[in-house]
């Protein structure tokens, strides 16, 4: 049976680490896949929350970020939704190109896509769903 968790976070980047740990603790079974979960999931979720707060909600302390987590037998899925107007993720340049590599920003979406198995934005661009599958790397 799937486990579900819904959080409403204040638009405060200081809450991100605690939120990631809270979600992590509520993912029973995830620890069997420690490597992918410790790195990929934590960093992927941190990026999604960071983008939502800083860019989606434009650092507005009055806004909030909704986090919906579903843990199934074969995967964990997290939808992060902000209250902003949305954006076009296709417009974000590749940070690994030579012209971009020494820039200090622009790696968030790249890392999400590199570390998670699926990254889907809604049409408006204010909600992203991250999926990490539990396959082949059980360490328990």
């Amino acid at each position: 049976m799937d486990q579900e968790l819904i959080l409403e976070l204040p638009n405060d980047i200081r809450s991100i680490e605690h939120a990631v740990e809270y979600v992590t603790q509520h993912c029973s079974g995830c620890y069997e896949y420690a490597r992918r979960f410790n790195l990929n999931f934590r960093v992927g979720l941190t990026e999604a929350l960071s983008n939502a707060m800083l860019y989606g909600n434009n650092s507005d302390p009055e806004k909030r970020v909704r986090v919906e987590v579903t843990v199934a037998v074969e995967e964990v899925s997290v939808r992060v939704t902000d209250q902003g107007v949305g954006f076009d993720p296709a417009m974000v340049p590749d940070p690994t190109l030579p012209d971009n590599i020494s820039k200090s920003g622009g790696r968030g979406i790249f890392l999400m896509k590199a570390l998670m198995d699926e990254v889907q934005f809604n049409e408006r661009g204010n909600s992203v769903t991250l999926v990490l599958r539990f396959e082949g790397e059980a360490t328990a």
């Binding site: 991100i16 590599i101 968030g108």
Partner: protein, 110 residues
């Protein structure tokens, strides 16, 4: 999470304990900039006690690297575990930084 600043001869060593992420990156930046302002030029950031780094954490390291180079200083990154190295490799930042296996190795020749 915390950043511990210590000295080893003329080298400033910053140990990153916990995460280096969007919520605390400015603290690390300010600590290094304060040391640069005091005249320090050789820096090692040690990740032996670090959990994970996000894109903001990587970004602040890029930014600090530039500022240190502008002052004719040097920054080395030490003790990245396999997961953290993966982040640098994925983003190709391993080509931008001097990355060494240990704090001791980082101190050699600085």
């Amino acid at each position: 999470m915390a950043f511990q600043v210590s000295k080893s001869g003329d080298v400033t060593v910053i140990d990153v304990e916990g995460q280096l992420i969007v919520g605390n990156r400015q603290e690390l930046k300010q600590k290094v900039l304060d040391e640069l302002e005091r005249g320090e030029r050789s820096f090692v950031v040690n990740f032996s006690e670090t959990g994970y780094i996000d894109s903001s954490g990587l970004g602040v390291l890029v930014s600090l690297s530039k500022k240190i180079r502008e002052q004719e200083g040097e920054l080395r990154l030490a003790s990245l575990n396999e997961d953290l190295r993966t982040l640098f490799e994925l983003t190709k930042l391993d080509t931008l930084f001097t990355i060494v296996d240990s704090r001791e190795e980082a101190l050699e020749g600085l």
